[in-house]
Subunit: 237 residues, 2 copies
């Protein structure tokens, strides 16, 4: 049975920091838990965005690749879409998007997802260059990222909101990926402006957090010695 | 199907801090996710320990009460038991218990549970006095706790280990409850010494974190303004 109140996550944000980038889940396994989601490939191989059951990876060359079942991911999440329209956005920057998504509250204490389908007057994304073993740390890898920009592009912004209590396990606050209708641009969003779009929301009551317990590097890692997650993530964006 | 790799948790440790102590899950719902578990009742009503499918609450009077299906809990976890024996303990203090449970590693990056069945040369537990609405904060409530001690008591220590990354959502590190075979003592363990016992372990690959999304007080609470969890919990123990 498809439970639309559950957000499934494999791996943690924290494991990216020291470079535990082995793909420990297949795309097929990820999509057994949802038709909608985001993630990254082994070695931070691009930015994955799954909308309407179509899994695309935007790589560091700006190319959109339709992913196969055996593509592996170190960190990803998915859920079965059941969004409700809560409003429209017109000429909205990220702050306006976040305020509308939170429906007037300063924050939220459970996980939720947002879809914005429409036209974006501005879109700025990034995709990291894939690294190979031995993997670099996130701070080093993030320096090798490609930046993409587009104007007046139609597409879908897929966002996940995580309560700050879970920052480090997930990405605290909003985490936004994009896919253009014509696949001309996509990936992890750095900045955007919505020209006109619909705002849809889906609230979860459960986080199903799955760990790569069969990966010895993950299980044996001492996370206490890693750099502070907040500073690494802030510098990477 | 009973998935023995999943640890189910309802609520978060963080919601206890400001006193969001409304019972938002019934015991029946909790036990739909496991025959083994720990928790507390509405208003921090005693200490719940479920072993072999038998749900007992140790109240602040030291009495063991077999719980009914409609008992409600603000914070609890459960799982279906499938422990494997990993060793024995003889004259073991908490440090020796933790070292043996971690099997020589400094910490663990996934959740697991431990059972010690045997004779305890010393056992010290606490149970908090139930508060009523409007609920006090955890710091205030924890001052009104009863302490119990026993020597040479047979029983079961039920422990859950949470990776420190999840501290605040769960109780980082070990969280131990006890139930004596003759129900003479039980509750949240403050100190103990194992005389002789078996050490059983069950490792989870998934945390199923459930939030009380239908509780407006929880959903509307601003956790940013709360006291630091670490200091409150340290002072409460």
């Amino acid at each position: 049975m498809k439970n639309t109140h559950v957000l499934y996550q494999h791996g943690t944000l924290a494991l990216l920091v020291p470079g535990l980038l082995t793909g420990t889940l297949t795309l097929k396994e990820l999509m057994a838990h949802g038709d909608t989601g985001i993630g990254t490939g082994e070695g931070l191989d691009g930015e994955v965005v799954i909308v309407d059951g179509k899994p695309y990876q935007f790589d560091s060359f700006g190319k959109a690749n339709l992913l196969k079942d055996d593509f592996t991911l170190p960190f990803a999440n998915s859920h079965f879409a059941d969004y409700q329209k809560i409003g429209s956005l017109n000429d909205a920057d990220p702050a306006a998007f976040e305020a509308a998504s939170l429906e007037g509250k300063p924050n939220c204490n459970t996980f939720f997802s947002i879809l914005v389908r429409g036209t974006f007057s501005y879109m700025k994304t990034r995709a990291v260059v894939k690294s190979t073993k031995p993997f670099d740390t996130l701070a080093t890898t993030a320096k090798k990222q490609s930046i993409f920009e587009a104007h007046d592009v139609k597409g879908t912004l897929l966002s996940y909101y995580s309560p700050m209590l879970f920052h480090g396990a997930a990405v605290g606050g909003f985490h936004n990926h994009f896919v253009a209708d014509d696949l001309s641009i996509g990936g992890h969003i750095l900045d955007f402006r919505v020209k006109q779009g619909t705002l849809e929301k889906q609230v979860f009551d459960t986080l199903e957090q799955h760990f790569p317990v069969n990966n010895a590097e993950f299980m044996d890692h001492d996370f206490d010695k890693d750099e502070d997650i907040a500073s690494v993530i802030a510098n990477a964006e």
